[in-house]
Amino acid sequence: MSQDIENELRRALRPVDAPADFTARVMRALPPRPASAEVVMLDVVRSRAQPSWWSRFSTPAALAASLLVAIMAGRHVALEHEERQQLAGLEASRKLMQALRVTSQKLDLVYEAMQRPPPVTPPAEENRS
């Protein structure tokens, strides 16, 4: 039943032709298409548009200068750091030598004390009984 009414609909809804003059009517109503406009650059604009040497190279030059300054500053900081480390190393070495020297002197004193004969004590109460 549903199939019947669907088939009837398909038959009833067959496309109908547009009026004979329809195409002409549409074509008459078309707006003019904008022509592809060619951009003509005036001499004034063109000369203004030509970039000068400075405007062309100023940015790369500024970037290069900034990079150079950054490298030099970094190198300076690194050298200072290295110098500080060297001084600290020398100081530590000096302190170590001093400590070794003091230790050596103390050891000498101990050695001398050990080499000395012990003091003689009188036989005090050996014959008392």
Binding site: I5, E6, E8, R11, P15, D17, P19, F22, V26
Partner: protein
């Protein structure tokens, strides 16, 4: 149509039209005008308004030729635009009442094997459906679009399209039975 355009394939016809070839565009109009006009005519029920609507569709196409990717896209685009313009027209307050159907609308093409009385009745009953449901039925049974394509064209969910078809068929059947054009099943 010039020999060049008669020989040109459909895709090259579209390319020519996009490059500004006015004769190529005219060929495209000729190829699609029956479909566009028919959808408008079945939707609105008036020949004069359908003509204006179809003309508006082709003017929109002319302005947006650059966005058309292929001939398949063109056919789909035209159906979508005409259906939506027709729905908008029907929803305007001045046109929201049930539209009178031209007597000519129900006339059947001479080669058709359709019962003229049935065809006239179906066309009238179709005109009584709500605009969106009418658009769904026209795209389904005149343009033979599937449910998914109708959903895309009318920007509605697939289930809504199916629901429109089911309810419209039921309503049409009921009215046909009421008019004793078909017999009720026992």
């Amino acid at each position: 149509m010039t020999p060049l355009h008669s020989q040109a394939g459909h895709s090259s016809l579209l390319q020519l039209a996009r490059r500004g070839d006015i004769q190529a565009f005219e060929s495209l109009v000729r190829q699609h005008q029956a479909s566009v006009f028919s959808v408008g005519y079945r939707m609105l029920g008036r020949r004069d308004v359908a003509e204006d609507l179809a003309q508006e569709v082709f003017l929109q196409l002319y302005r947006r030729l650059d966005s058309i990717e292929s001939m398949e896209h063109l056919g789909f685009w035209l159906r979508r635009v005409v259906a939506n313009l027709a729905i908008d027209w029907l929803r305007r307050p001045a046109h929201s009442a049930t539209q009178p159907i031209d007597d000519e609308l129900a006339m059947v093409a001479p080669e058709s094997d359709c019962d003229p009385l049935m065809s006239r009745a179906l066309s009238r009953l179709l005109g009584e459906l709500a605009p969106a449901a009418r658009a769904v039925m026209v795209l389904r049974y005149q343009e033979d679009l599937d449910v998914a394509d109708i959903a895309t064209a009318l920007d509605m969910p697939v289930n809504t399209v199916k629901s429109h078809i089911k309810r419209s068929l039921t309503a049409l059947r009921g009215k046909m039975i009421g008019a004793q054009l078909i017999e009720e099943l026992p």
